[in-house]
């Protein structure tokens, strides 16, 4: 006996759902997103976890599936997320999806209250009776349930319409048990972006992924290489995207995908509350996601004018919707960067960029002359002239050694900012930098100190140049902002 269907294989994005500011699904943006991914995918999943199904009304979920079916128009299968906490609602929504023309339903294990194994099994049995192909969906990190292999095996083999399982746990021993029990009879999909290649290599039939909103083409390469038995190529691609997908999976996947898409030019808005920008997907994650997308050629370069008054310089930047066309007023720009973990090795950089003959330039020269030595100030670069100021007074050799690591990180950030155009070559004699660099007195892990300071400094440079955070962001995030040191232990 072979597979129950032939279409459930390959790469499926778990589509984000764009919402209009007033509420409801943003149809135009949703269609744009679908057109964006469609050339690279073997199927699509509306209203999955990444699609924020749990924040949508039943009506909205139906609308999203309808739009998706209409836009896809049969080019690839549509696997509609129809899971709810109760059996009654799940059965109703799945029955609706069948009538609407979905090819299958992705049904999450019933969540929040924690039904026992036999209750979960009977939930899926009830959905099976509708007659729509059904994918059982294991995502214990959200659902709080874990169907053990016996629940999955029982359902997948006993239920006529159970065509496969999506396992987002990232738990490879679980997946191996699935291969042992049901391989070749139903499709086994991996749903954890960090272990796609190992899962496919071990025998998974496909992947349903949040990051397939952003990089479906790359996942297609991993899938194709695996099918051809070219493990090396598949491994290389997984490693190239590992950091990007780690950010997506662990740092607020819905919002991460949405902000990533927006940086790539597909504006799908923000997640619904209580997900907020700068929340699980932190500010520093956004900077890093952007850098990863740049490294993978997913953000285009475009010309930006640096207006230094007496001098105009055009530089090609990885510009996003937040990059002004002209960057003026170079008297003094302020930027800030923050990067961790771990706590003791975190970096916090306060940056000033300004004209050499302005306040920043004058402050550098005066501070070096008057208290530079006593306070441990150091000029670490001449083009652009860069003064590093230790936030914490250096007292021990260990602190001195780690501060040197931090300075290395800052230097790398400057080099790469020159390379990527944010500090264009023609202005390097005109502007100067002050970097106030925090190294915790208890820091130990030298490599993290260097890397975190590289990140923080690079973020600070970009934020200073682009004028971020914007006033709109500040006002929007004011109420929920939480300074970690505002509270007692």
């Amino acid at each position: 006996m072979g597979y129950k269907t032939d279409w459930f294989k390959g790469i499926f994005p778990a589509l984000v759902t764009p919402f209009t500011p007033g509420g409801g699904v943003d149809e135009l943006a949703y269609r744009e997103l679908i057109r964006f991914v469609l050339p690279h995918v073997d199927g699509v999943v509306p209203c999955g976890t990444t699609g924020e199904f749990s924040y949508m009304s039943t009506k909205e979920r139906m609308r999203a599936v309808e739009i998706c079916l209409d836009e896809v128009a049969g080019q690839v299968p549509v696997l509609a997320g129809t899971g709810c906490t109760t059996t009654r609602e799940t059965v109703a929504l799945t029955a609706w999806a069948k009538d609407a023309g979905a090819d299958g339903a992705l049904v999450v294990a019933p969540y929040f209250l924690k039904p026992s194994f036999n209750e979960v099994y009977d939930h899926f049995r009830a959905v099976d009776e509708i007659g729509l192909p059904m994918v059982m969906y294991n995502i214990p990190q959200c659902a709080g349930t874990h169907f053990r292999w016996w629940t999955a095996e029982g359902g997948l083999l006993d239920f006529e319409n159970a065509i496969g399982i999506k396992d987002s746990s990232g738990d490879l021993p679980f997946m191996e048990a699935m291969f042992e029990k049901v391989k070749g009879k139903v499709s086994i999909f991996v749903g954890h972006d960090e272990v796609v290649q190992p899962a496919l290599g071990a025998g998974a039939d496909g992947a349903i992924l949040a990051s397939a909103n952003l990089i479906p083409d790359i996942w297609q390469k991993v899938y194709a290489a695996t099918l051809e038995g070219d493990l090396t190529t598949a491994q290389d691609w997984q490693q190239k995207v590992q950091k990007l997908v780690r950010i997506v999976v662990r740092c607020g996947s819905n919002q991460a995908c949405k902000e990533g898409l927006r940086m790539m030019g597909v504006d799908v808005g923000d997640s619904r509350h209580p997900i907020v920008p700068g929340g699980a997907f932190r500010r520093e994650d956004r900077e890093e996601l952007r850098l990863q997308l740049e490294a993978l050629d997913k953000i285009d370069k475009s010309p930006v004018t640096y207006d230094l008054g007496q001098k105009q310089v055009v530089t090609d930047l990885f510009a996003t919707y937040q990059t002004p066309n002209t960057i003026a007023d170079w008297t003094m720009k302020v930027g800030e960067g923050f990067a961790g973990p771990p706590f003791q090795e975190l970096a916090h950089v306060d940056l000033l960029i300004g004209l050499a003959d302005g306040p920043v330039g004058r402050a550098i020269e005066r501070s070096i002359a008057e208290w530079g030595e006593e306070r441990g100030l150091r000029v670490i670069a001449e083009r652009p002239r860069t003064l590093v100021v230790p936030t914490v007074t250096i007292r021990t050799d260990k602190q001195r050694r780690l501060f040197e690591q931090a300075a290395e990180g800052v230097r790398l950030a400057i080099d790469l900012s020159i390379e990527d155009g944010f500090l264009p070559e023609p202005i390097l004699d005109d502007v100067v930098l002050i970097m106030n660099v925090f190294v915790h007195p208890a820091a130990s892990i030298a490599r993290r100190v260097a890397f975190n300071n590289y990140k923080a400094a690079r973020h600070a440079i970009r934020k200073a140049v682009e004028g971020r955070p914007t006033v709109e962001e500040l006002i929007a995030e004011k109420a929920a902002a939480r300074h970690p040191f505002r509270y007692a232990p």
Partner: protein
Amino acid sequence: MPIKVPWLKGVFPALVTPFERGSEAVDEEAYRRLIRHALPNVDGIVTSGTTGEFPYLTREEQRRLVEIGVEEAKGKPVVAGCGASSTQEAQALARDAKEAGASAALIVTPYFLHPSDKGVYQHFYDIATRVDLPVILYNIPQVMDRYLPRTVVEDLADLPNVIGLKDSSGNLTYTMEILEYAGDRIDVFVGHDEVVLPALAGGVSGMILASAQVYPEVWQEVIRLVKAGQVEQARAKQREVQKLSRIFCRHGGGVAVKAALKMMGLDMGPPRRPLKSVGGALMHETRAEIRLELEKVGRIPIKGTAFQYPDGALAARFGDLEIGADEIAAHDLRVGSGVAGQGVNKVQIDLIAGGKETPLGDAYALQVTYPFHRREALTAILEPALTVRPSTLLLPTLAQRNLRQANMIYGPAQSALGRAIVDALETEQIPRQSVDEDVMVALVTIHPRAMDRHALAQSVHAAASEAIEQAFTPRAEGEE
């Protein structure tokens, strides 16, 4: 009334083990000092418990600690920590403890490898039946990664030598379950400093605590009040030491206790490596917090500080920025002042705002390079990576003499100032054109003994809002 032995009640400190600096050898003299310090207010002592870093001690060292304990305890019971991963070793430790004169052995759930419930039962059974010494079972899932199963405790309680259980989990559902199933046969002790009062109210017989070597008399008082039915007063007493207890339990354990003892004049040396005296599990910031709390509960004196809030003409308060009335007038700088809060929470903020191209721009850039030692300027932020605009520096007017004072600025004051600025942006009290054109410096004066972050943040927010309002209120015609 205690069930199997008459002495198993009251307050027992889980003593730290003092080590010499460098050699990490046990410092016996310091240990004696510690016991003498604690003894008047305790009902017994516990050697080589978790707080005593037992996994880092040799068998000989543990035996020696018991010997010293017995010598110093003046007849009060000495409970010897005899925890080990293997049954054989735990049994050997218990034999040693018996020979050294201990009154009981405190034996932790076997750890690292994960024996089954049957294996755990056998572990305690072997020791309790082969060594003629009372045994106290010890549940501490935070470090052992598992609970001592209630069903195992229920059966072990039948053994004549099993006299008690110490529950350090802090999970009262577990404590209540043990009391329910074994409370008729063994004494239950609370081992989690944060829940002493609720555990006593729930029916435990006593406590073995890290903090019982720092403030045993507080716990004696809590016991007395509970017995007298004075719950309100008992609550107040527990609350006095709640934060310190939390720090001991969650933010450094024995290392934090050693830091507190050192501040009180009892130097117990460093922990054994890989633990660090500070900068590891016990962070510098937390250590500063311990000092603050010990001051608050009167364990160490508060040093007096003479200081004053800036006064005189507002325009004359910006001398640190090399800006006076002439510069303010010549460059159309805006100034404002605000005061808020009472007592140690009183905050004064003198704010100056103006164009980046004015002397204020120079002062701003200069302050980022730290001309004033211990008065380092901070950028106003809502939280890290959310820098407010117009760019604003917070410059403390008083030198920050220690991390405890710095902790009040970095975080509470910094974010409250940031929030006041963004509030003013939202209402357009601060005009949008200011965002790119201007910078601001806030001279912030905080009482050196401020210690309530929440109250302080509220004061800073109120004072900053007032200063901003003054600075940005459109000036009437002809007004200076």
